[in-house]
């Protein structure tokens, strides 16, 4: 493993004041991932989009996974070559690209059955690439604002969902307590006073037998 400091702002040790972040360096990885995303070549890009459409198949009511720029999202959350691969989803550039290359143009050209078979093979082999791809596609797809709009449109339970928790919160759309229910809550429950605590009958314990 290369010990060069990660560009997320997660050095192994805190930088000296004035250098590489200095006093404001917290070591926490940059929110949003890399400022300069990893770049993928044409085939790798096509493979990523084909993987996205295989994991989340196109549906007329939903944005198509290959059309929401997951490639840039993935590029922001893969660890660049030569840096410590220390943050979720633990995908290191060289190994990750090599995995995409192994899937290659034949994966892109394959039909749904062929693609499904290829991904299933990765999953069965417990290839770490499978979990990395699934995490990046699920987290990426369901973080896109255009998908949030589809959730609002398509799912009764998601009508009010607005993506990031802030700045809006949900104060206006969250149900308040029901006074009758609160009144009923006073009817059940009791506690033992300090002086009323006595030894229980330990012969009844099931796990000692």
């Amino acid at each position: 493993m290369n010990d060069a400091p990660a560009p997320f702002g997660a050095p192994a040790e805190t930088a000296s004041p004035g250098e590489a972040g200095g006093f404001f360096e917290t070591g926490r990885p940059r929110i949003g991932g890399l400022l300069h995303p990893i770049r993928f070549d044409g085939t790798q890009t096509a493979v990523l989009n084909a993987v996205a459409d295989t994991l989340i198949p196109p549906d007329p009511a939903w944005p198509t996974a290959s059309e929401v720029d997951l490639v840039t999202f993935v590029g922001r959350y893969v660890t660049p070559s030569g840096y410590r691969n220390k943050h979720f989803p633990f995908a290191e550039e060289d190994a990750f690209k090599a995995g995409l290359d192994r899937l290659g143009q034949s994966f892109v050209d394959g039909d749904v059955a062929a693609r499904t078979e290829a991904i299933s093979a990765l999953e069965k082999a417990e290839d770490p690439l499978f979990e990395q791809l699934r995490a990046l596609v699920y987290y990426g797809y369901y973080s896109r604002p255009v998908v949030t709009l589809a959730i609002n449109r398509n799912l009764p339970a998601g009508r009010d969902y607005h993506g990031p928790p802030l700045p809006y919160g949900y104060l206006q759309t969250t149900e308040p307590w029901d006074e009758d229910l609160l009144t009923q809550a006073q009817e059940n429950g009791s506690y033992l006073e300090t002086d009323d605590v006595v030894r229980v009958d330990l012969s009844q314990l099931s796990w000692t037998k």
């Binding site: 987290y139 919160g169 009958d201 314990l205």
Partner: protein, 550 residues
């Protein structure tokens, strides 16, 4: 310039234990230095305003320091996933803010059953009750007084309780229909504005902290005020050793993580508040002349009786909206129907049912809390559409027995970025805890099925435990043979060395520990203030009977 700093009280750790004492002492004019190995967490580091908030929860906001690996973190080896942050405010910087108290029986578990290493606390609920109230007011707590499963708490100051949403109302109705106890939760989440803090917006995701200050933590409730009163809070200050001479603590040596330089602070009283793993680690790491097995460890009890609570996560799905992404996280309610020991169930102790919130769509796709990951491929759309936000999660939250062989020790083979040894955890679930947890899982699903759950999934009894709570490793007790601390949190070996954090807790109860840690810090601070001259003059630690009273 002197080669060392002199102060009245040195506090190690800027989390709930240390902050409560620091604020109380600083307000009274006592000179306080606090050493904290991490930095301040700033609002812009929180992910709540970002589209990627759900993924970020797994990265810089991962709760396990072994995953997060920030420079202020230290490794914790063994089969464990500790919930720990090392920064101003400690692990509260991303807690859910659940704020229940212990009940009176929780201080008398030695009398009730005395199993494994269980002993009575040297104090009672009544001793601590006024300090719970005092501590709650400092933090800012929302909730509702009147819970019949607790002694009267009319003195407790409360903001209005957080909103339940469909989710909270659902489980409240389930409990009601079964005739079970339930009550709206106390949460360390403000619902009214305070100085420099905005009231909760029902945003959720407090497990990544709160950039608005709605989550009550020492970083917003204590330190700005302690510093205003003259407390000297030194961040990036990693303590290497607590120093002792002639049976008393003299202070500590720390490494400035900005420069790598070592500094010494000398103090009349030292308070260790580095959490249930960090405090025993530092005491063991402070082995020195006269203290060959670590400081305050002549009886070998430092690091023993580690408790985490026993957990199972229980997911239920309904065929109607539950909207778990709404509302503070922060539990809306809990049920203590099965809190008290009933040996006819086959185990001692009990559990709480703590109703949690959910997160967003990625959380639903990735399997919520129980690893129920959405299938990929042709079944994905149907699964996601049927599960997202139709989901209700309840924690089965049980008391675990204090077991002597559940320990924190040092691991010299692994070190932090300053070369200090890692903590090593050995923790195994006790048969009693497993029996308790299995019973609890069944009861939770009994409730959700009664109100129409169409599908359920659970983790089983979690092992390794989520280790959200780090307790018992420097416990208070009744004599030097059963504990590390006397009833005033003084170490038996070193009278001017106090320990006040999760490690102090004699037993774990079946509730989140932070409100109790905070109450203990208020009590310890008050004791130090009232008995300053006597404490500074002590050359040995008095027994509980002989110690000067409040």
């Amino acid at each position: 310039m002197a080669a060392y700093t002199e102060t009245d009280v040195l506090i190690i750790g800027a989390g709930p234990g240390g902050a409560g004492i620091a604020l109380k002492l600083a307000k009274a004019g006592v000179k306080v230095v606090c050493l904290e190995q991490g930095p301040w967490v700033t609002p812009r580091e929180h992910p709540h305003y970002h589209d990627e908030w759900e993924l970020e929860k797994q990265r810089g906001w991962a709760y396990d320091p072994n995953v997060r690996q920030l420079p202020e973190d230290y490794p914790v080896t063994g089969v464990t996933t500790p919930y720990m942050m090392n920064n101003v405010g400690g692990s509260t910087m991303h807690y859910a803010g659940h704020w229940p108290r212990y009940k009176p029986v929780d201080f008398r578990k030695g009398t009730e059953h005395g199993l494994e290493g269980t002993i009575d606390w040297p104090i009672s609920y009544e001793d601590l009750a006024p300090f719970y109230d005092e501590n709650d007011e400092i933090y800012g707590i929302s909730g509702r007084v009147g819970d019949p499963s607790y002694p009267d708490r009319k003195q407790a100051v409360r903001d209005p309780e957080v909103l339940p949403g469909k989710l909270g109302l659902k489980y409240a109705k389930a409990s009601r229909d079964l005739g079970w106890h339930w009550w709206p939760s106390d949460n360390a989440i403000i619902t009214r504005d305070r100085e420099n803090r905005q009231a909760d917006q029902a945003m959720g995701n407090e497990l990544s902290g709160s950039p608005t200050g709605s989550l009550s933590t020492p970083a917003n409730a204590h330190w700005p005020y302690a510093i205003r009163h003259g407390a000297d809070l030194r961040t990036m200050a990693r303590v290497e050793q607590i120093n002792a001479s002639n049976g008393k603590a003299t202070g500590a040596t720390y490494i400035d993580r900005n420069t790598g330089d070592r500094h010494e602070v000398r103090a009349k009283i030292v308070v260790l508040a580095a959490n249930g793993i960090g405090s025993p680690r530092l005491l063991l790491q402070s082995a020195q002349k006269g203290h060959p097995d670590g400081l305050a460890n002549s009886n070998g009890i430092v690091g023993k009786y580690l408790m985490h609570h026993v957990f199972a996560f229980c997911d239920s799905w309904f065929d109607e909206p539950i909207e778990g992404y709404k509302g503070s996280f922060g539990a809306p309610l809990y049920s203590h129907e099965f809190y008290h020991t009933d040996v006819s169930r086959g185990f001692v102790n009990g559990f709480g049912m703590q109703v949690a919130r959910s997160f967003g769509p990625a959380y639903a796709a990735m399997g919520t809390h129980t690893g129920y990951t959405a299938p990929w491929g042709e079944k994905h759309r149907e699964f996601f559409d049927g599960h997202f936000a139709n989901h209700l999660m309840v924690f089965m939250f049980g008391e675990d027995l204090p077991v002597e062989t559940n320990t924190v020790t040092l691991n010299h083979d692994v070190t932090d970025s300053s070369g200090l040894p890692a903590a090593h955890v050995n923790y195994e679930l006790h048969a009693n805890d497993i029996a308790l947890a299995k019973y609890g899982i069944d009861k939770i699903f009994e409730a959700t099925r009664a109100v129409g759950a169409v599908e359920t999934n659970d983790t089983g009894v979690l092992y390794p435990p989520p280790a959200w709570h780090l307790m018992g490793t420097c416990r208070m007790g009744n004599n030097p043979g059963d504990s590390v601390l006397n009833k005033w949190c003084q170490t038996w070996d070193v009278p001017n060395l106090f320990v006040c954090d999760g490690s102090t807790l004699t037993t774990g109860a079946a509730v989140n520990p932070t409100s109790t840690i905070g109450a203990l810090s208020q009590r310890t601070g008050e004791y130090i203030l009232r008995n300053w001259d006597a404490l500074v003059a002590q050359t040995t630690t008095p027994s509980n009977a002989d110690a000067p009273d409040m």
